[in-house]
């Protein structure tokens, strides 16, 4: 085993979250390792998406939400007052379950973020668009139709476009919420390959309820579980190999062997 000091992108400490009166997350404490893929697994409805949205404060948009605890990103608690949420979301990109290209051209979709952040120079934008599409392994398919509507792409292409769009703003982290659940196996394969390529330069957190996917692509796995009428807790967290071959908690074992959930 090579010795390497792992740096953390996020350090989540005693995170509790309520939707109104309903408590959805309880006392989550976890470190998310930098330049690695962390998978969040758990039965549907247990709070995986909720947890993920805590990391770029997309939960702020939900009425009646209350969050306690700390989430350190690069050493700073993002829930501190005075956090620049807009900047945070630029640094922590997000891919949604449903591909959500804007109703504009492929080019404009990718250039959206850079333009937002002040890049106007056409050559520079061309460069960023090409580069991002290449990184998202979509360039070859779309280079001759950059001005066509992004809505004309297939679901798998749209999801890679969403990845290109996020890459164009040069984030440090990419959060993915079941990015393949609406895709066919071939498209899923491409996205998984892409994630593995990207982890050299990005920290990736992926929510999935597909255990094979978690086992295939991730370095670390966190298992969330909401037991009957209880908020979700982090049951177990560790290196993916360990979680899948030698889980410490019986509930983890039951889940990964398909005995419930």
């Amino acid at each position: 085993m090579n010795i390497k000091i792992k740096e953390n992108a996020f350090e989540v400490r005693n995170l509790n979250l309520w939707y109104g009166k309903h408590k959805a997350l309880e006392d989550i404490t976890i470190d998310i390792v930098k330049n690695a893929i962390t998978a969040i697994i758990g039965p549907s409805g247990c709070g995986k998406s909720t947890f993920l949205r805590c990391l770029n404060r997309m939960n702020d948009l939900i009425d009646g939400i209350r969050i306690e605890g700390k989430v350190y990103f690069e050493g700073k608690n993002i829930y501190d007052e005075g956090t620049d949420v807009v900047l945070l979301r630029k640094r922590v990109g997000m891919i949604f379950q449903q591909p959500n290209p804007f109703p504009m051209s492929i080019y404009d979709n990718v250039a959206f973020g850079p333009r937002l952040h002040g890049i106007r120079d056409r050559n520079r934008l061309d460069e960023i668009v090409k580069d991002s599409l290449e990184k998202a392994s979509l360039w070859k398919e779309v280079k001759n139709k950059l001005n066509e509507s992004a809505l004309s792409l297939s679901g798998g292409q749209q999801q890679r476009l969403a990845i290109a769009r996020v890459l164009a703003v040069e984030p440090e982290v990419i959060l993915m919420d079941e990015p393949c659940s609406a895709l066919d196996p071939a498209s899923t394969q491409r996205i998984e390959d892409l994630m593995v390529e990207l982890k050299a330069n990005y920290t990736i957190v992926i929510v999935t309820h597909n255990m094979q996917q978690a086992a295939r692509v991730s370095d670390f796995t966190a298992f969330l579980l909401a037991e009957e009428n209880e908020p979700a807790k982090l049951i177990e967290y560790g290196e993916t190999g360990q979680i899948f071959t030698n889980p410490k908690d019986i509930r983890t074992e039951n889940y990964i062997t398909g005995r419930f959930g």
């Binding site: 770029n56 997309m58 948009l61 009425d63 807009v86 900047l87 979301r89 630029k90 990109g93 997000m94 949604f96 449903q98 959500n100 290209p101 804007f102 109703p103 504009m104 959206f112 973020g113 937002l116 952040h117 509507s149 809505l151 969403a162 769009r165 996020v166 703003v169």
Partner: protein, 288 residues
């Protein structure tokens, strides 16, 4: 029993079909009648003399409708220029900013605004706006500015509620996508939501124009009714609608035909607006 039900169902179906055809028959009747009556004038007066003639003087058989057409267009343009931006701001506030509860109160207020009879608007115009406009802009207070102001409030509910519909039909995933890329709320609204709702908003404005150009009573009460091409905005004008309403009770002969011709022009204009709106929407289906 089943047999009885069947014939009952048939009767119901027939009834609904009849009701539906009644609307079409009604529409056709109006179109045919107005077209027939509205073109009678052109046996005696040249169409171009009617449309571009600058003198409207029925007593001396001068039927140049240009001052009235210009009057209608200017008053309508004024109303839409005032009302469209405000309506769009209100619609944005309702869909993107206001808490649900507040939004609901405002929507109710807008519905009430839409339900107020136009004569009340005219009344308020005379009592409140005419003196104010007289003070600020000079003149009698009756005229383009006052009429545009009154109309702008009257078409606000139309534009606002249609624009609101267009904005709220923009899927939330666009909003989340934009915010997650690091847009501020304003950037999200400006760069994603508004463009996505553009066609619906344009249709809303066009329907507002249609509503404004056809409005009669309130305009009649505050516009001054002087059939002259205006030179400044504080002057009184007459509109097609106001002249029809004022003159129809006593007009006869050519004068009456001329009023029908004005009605014909109005009908054509509103059909154009509907056609444009249809076109705008058809385009949007092709795209998405």
């Amino acid at each position: 029993m089943t047999k009885g039900n069947k014939s009952f169902e048939k009767a119901i179906k027939l009834f609904f079909s009849l009701a539906a055809s009644a609307t079409i028959v009604g529409l056709l009747l109006i179109i045919v009648y107005i077209t027939k009556e509205g073109t009678l004038l052109f046996g005696k007066v040249n169409v171009f003399d009617f449309l571009f003639g600058k003198e409207w003087k029925p007593s001396s058989a001068r039927f140049g409708a240009l001052p009235l057409i210009v009057g209608s267009l200017v008053v309508t343009a004024g109303a839409v220029i005032l009302s469209a931006p405000l309506s769009i701001f209100v619609a944005i506030f309702l869909t993107e900013i206001a808490p649900k509860k507040v939004a609901n109160y405002i929507k109710t207020a807008i519905e009430l605004l839409a339900g107020i009879p136009s004569v009340i608007y005219g009344f308020m115009g005379i009592m409140v706006l005419v003196p104010m406009v007289r003070q600020v802009f000079g003149g009698s207070g009756l005229g383009i500015i006052t009429a545009s102001l009154v109309l702008s409030i009257m078409i606000l509910p139309t534009i606002t509620s249609l624009a609101e519909g267009a904005l709220s039909s923009v899927p939330d995933r666009y909003r989340y996508g934009a915010l997650a890329l690091g847009s501020t709320k304003w950037e999200m609204i400006y760069h994603v939501v508004l463009p996505a709702a553009k066609r619906g908003i344009i249709s809303a404005i066009i329907l507002g124009v249609g509503r404004a150009i056809g409005e009669t009573m309130a305009v009649l009460m505050v516009v001054g009714n002087v059939a002259k091409i205006p030179e400044s905005l504080n002057q009184p004008v007459a509109t097609m609608t106001s002249i029809i309403a004022l003159d129809i009770s006593y007009a006869s002969g050519l004068h009456k035909y001329a009023l029908f011709s004005l009605g014909f022009v109005l009908l054509l204009l509103s059909m154009c607006f509907i056609a444009i709106v249809r076109g705008v929407y058809k385009g949007s289906y092709e795209r998405v």
